[in-house]
């Protein structure tokens, strides 16, 4: 599958004796070995990365994870922790024959405190189910993203996912209060703190947040959840230049202030793509070069509506926006969000997508998409014609966080297109001191490009950390660093 890398000879090979051992500690239903059963765990959700694992283990408790890891540690068997397998950088599937440790059977909510809003839950709880549980109590999970119906909260913490409301609720580095994990030798680290403030020593959990399964298996998390807003509003508008998108953002910060909860931007190309594959009505019938979705979340309906109206009217008067709509009910609100979240899915329908999830200083953010199109044309590629492999080059993302998703949709993956894009994209980002991975992580896909965002001294420190916690390198090998 990957001719450029070889299986690490230090790792043990799975034997019948290993299987027998796992059978002695796990019920039969937690051990998968049939090709058919394995395939869903070997292939990632984009169908881009395909491993050859012969074994999937589905422990039901932290103790079971610990026994598995103790054995794997002793036998130097490499493992891949896997959550909902929705990751976008090939980190969640094996490269060779690593054992997949799926957390999907570890899915109970352990406790919830109505006063503090702190939830303690197993890593394998599905994000959407957790959020629905919280909704019943008037709270909200501080993270929301398109894959919410499948991804695990443990997976979210392992990738330090950003998502649609980071602008409002901040990064998981702030809202995760504690992590319980099983390390490479089977040690259970009980770090399920429930304290907002705790300055007693190195904050080790921060290393696990965003470690993508390379330091340990996260088995439980404790998360500080905010109150769910009683009143939400969604507006969607069209603008004719990226400059105006920035103006609308600055104005949103000043006019909407504390009730602003999302500011998402999309280019025309991305909208045409959704229109082609979605049954939903376009929020705006007329064409614009850019579109923005603004969401507010607050506690007082008339106060929020007045603010939003004033903001929108101000934008129209200043001729920053050309046209816009305001969702009149919950259904319209949901439909507009579905429309925004439909972008990645509609791109995937073309065959394959080269995804670049980058942080760039705001003023240059969209320049990257334009430069990318120009670069491809310069290299002799056509975009979006009947014969061309490249179907579309689109830009969208969480503008409020300086986060652009540059997506190049192709009919089929080709080394040719890949070499036209890389390392050009990464060099472009490096020049502007951006990040080559704003929220999707490094995984298998971005590992070779880490140097474009981090200097050697930093990379050396990271390697030291990895060696301390996983000296044999069995945790999610061939990835991250």
């Amino acid at each position: 599958m990957y001719p450029e890398i070889i299986r690490d000879p230090r790792f043990g090979e799975l034997t019948q004796a290993d299987i027998e051992y796992f059978k002695s500690i796990l019920p039969e239903s937690s051990i998968l070995q049939d090709d058919q059963d394995l395939s869903g765990y070997n292939i990632d959700s984009m169908r881009k990365y395909n491993g050859q694992s012969r074994l999937v283990l589905k422990p039901r408790s932290t103790e079971e994870v610990s026994k598995i890891m103790k054995h794997c540690g002793e036998r130097k068997l490499a493992v891949v922790p896997q959550g909902g397998n929705t990751g976008l950088v090939g980190g969640s599937v094996p490269v060779f024959d690593e054992i997949v440790i799926s957390l999907s059977n570890l899915n109970k909510i352990r406790s919830f405190d109505e006063v503090s809003g702190i939830i303690v839950a197993d890593a394998g709880c599905i994000l959407e189910a957790t959020d629905m549980f919280l909704a019943e109590h008037g709270y909200i999970f501080p993270l929301d993203l398109g894959a919410k119906g499948s991804c695990h909260i443990g997976g979210n913490v392992a990738t330090n996912a950003g998502g649609l409301r980071l602008l409002r609720y901040g990064s998981l580095h702030g809202s995760v209060l504690g992590v319980e994990a099983v390390m490479a030798d089977g040690t259970i680290v009980n770090g399920l703190g429930k304290l907002r403030k705790d300055n007693t020593g190195y904050d080790i959990k921060q290393l696990l947040i965003g470690s993508e399964g390379t330091l340990g298996v996260i088995t439980g998390v404790s998360v500080l959840c905010p109150k769910r807003s009683k009143v939400m509003n969604v507006a969607f508008f069209g603008l004719d230049s990226y400059e105006k998108v920035q103006k609308a953002f600055v104005k949103a910060k000043s006019d909407l202030g504390e009730i602003l909860s999302a500011f998402e931007f999309m280019d025309r190309e991305s909208q045409d793509q959704v229109a082609q594959f979605s049954e939903l009505r376009r929020p705006l019938d007329e064409q614009h070069n850019f579109y923005v979705l603004v969401e507010t979340s607050g506690s007082n309906r008339s106060h929020d509506e007045e603010k939003l109206q004033e903001y929108l009217e101000g934008l129209m008067e200043a001729e920053i926006i050309d046209d816009g709509v305001l969702a009149q009910d919950e259904t319209q609100m949901k439909n507009i969000w579905t429309w925004r979240e439909g972008i990645p899915e509609s791109l995937a329908r073309t065959g394959g997508v080269y995804k670049y999830d980058v942080s760039i200083p705001l003023e240059d953010l969209y320049l990257m998409v334009e430069d990318c199109r120009a670069k491809l044309v310069e290299k002799g590629y056509e975009i979006g014609t009947e014969e061309s492999n490249i179907v579309n080059v689109v830009g969208y993302g969480h503008l409020g966080d300086g986060n652009l998703h540059l997506n190049v949709a192709v009919k089929s993956y080709s080394k040719d297109v890949e070499h036209a894009l890389e390392p050009w994209v990464y060099e472009w980002i490096q020049k502007r001191q951006g990040s080559i991975s704003a929220e999707h992580g490094l995984g298998f896909a971005k590992r070779p490009y880490l140097k474009y965002s981090k200097d050697q001294s930093m990379i050396n420190l990271m390697k030291q950390v990895k060696n301390v916690y996983d000296p044999d390198g069995i945790m999610n090998p061939y990835k991250y660093i």
């Binding site: 508008f237 046209d323 816009g324 305001l326 009910d329 919950e330 507009i336």
Partner: protein, 262 residues
């Protein structure tokens, strides 16, 4: 040239479609405190259809007037419809009706109010939702047609007006569709598949603020709205019981037999 259409679209403000209604502990009203209300989805389709008729042919539509009966808050429904593109609106403010007691404004009372309003103001086409999603009565349109003694076409999935002012309405019926036609005036009630309502434009929301809303009361129209029905009790639908997983087809069949499903 067909006669120009003067369309009345009666609209209702209801608990938002996406919100799960809850019955209060006394089991006599649906909780409305802090709950989001919106324009009834079938009414939204009715407003959209009126606007599409206007867009379909120049000069076909002379006026689109919204009418809502209820508490002062019914203004919200009128404002939504005006922002979608209706020309003007009338609020029939009913004393004693509020969010919690909205069910006591019964379909017959509403139909009488609308009849009196149309007698007074004139109209040759009424388009309204086939039902409101709060009480699901599906009666107002039919009662209104009866009181006005106009033809009616219910559950419309398509509406067309020809040059002679003949209205053709397609309705979905068991096993296919049926098309009715009748001359104006007529009452049409809308089904879900008639159209997909547009999003409301910002410009139109701003313009709607300047549009006129008249106010009337039931006594202005000489209608008695006292309820004739008594709500004996309300209850939530039974809770869904959790499912369980079976590990083979055989055990599925035996489970189904146990509960007498097969």
């Amino acid at each position: 040239m067909p006669p120009r259409l003067n369309i009345i679209v009666p609209v209702k403000r209801v608990i938002d479609y996406a919100i799960k209604p809850r019955v209060n502990s006394a089991k006599n009203i649906v909780e409305t405190n802090g709950v989001k209300f919106s324009l009834n989805p079938f009414c939204e389709i009715a407003v959209e259809e009126a606007i599409r008729l206007r867009e379909s042919k120049k000069d076909l539509v002379e006026s689109i007037t919204l009418v809502s009966a209820g508490s002062a808050k019914a203004q919200d429904a009128l404002r939504s419809g005006l922002a979608m593109g209706a020309d003007k609106a009338t609020l029939i403010e009913c004393p004693g009706i509020d969010d919690a007691k909205s069910l006591s404004l019964e379909p017959l009372a509403v139909a009488k109010l609308l009849k009196a309003y149309i007698d007074k103001e004139g109209a040759n086409l009424v388009i309204l939702g086939k039902q409101a999603i709060d009480d699901d009565s599906n009666q107002t349109g039919q009662m209104l047609a009866g009181l006005l003694n106009w033809p009616q076409a219910t559950n419309a999935s398509n509406v067309a007006v020809d040059d002679d002012g003949i209205v053709s309405v397609t309705r979905e019926v068991d096993g296919g569709s049926e098309t009715l036609s009748a001359p104006l005036p007529i009452v049409i009630t809308t089904d879900l598949r008639l159209n997909v309502p547009r999003y409301t434009k910002l410009q139109d929301i701003m313009k709607a603020k300047k549009k006129k809303t008249d106010k009337l009361t039931p006594s202005d129209l000489g209608v008695d709205i006292a309820p004739r029905l008594e709500v004996v009790s309300l209850s939530d639908p039974p809770k869904r019981l959790g499912g369980s997983k079976v590990d083979s087809v055989d055990s599925l069949i035996s489970k189904l037999k146990d509960v007498g499903a097969i």
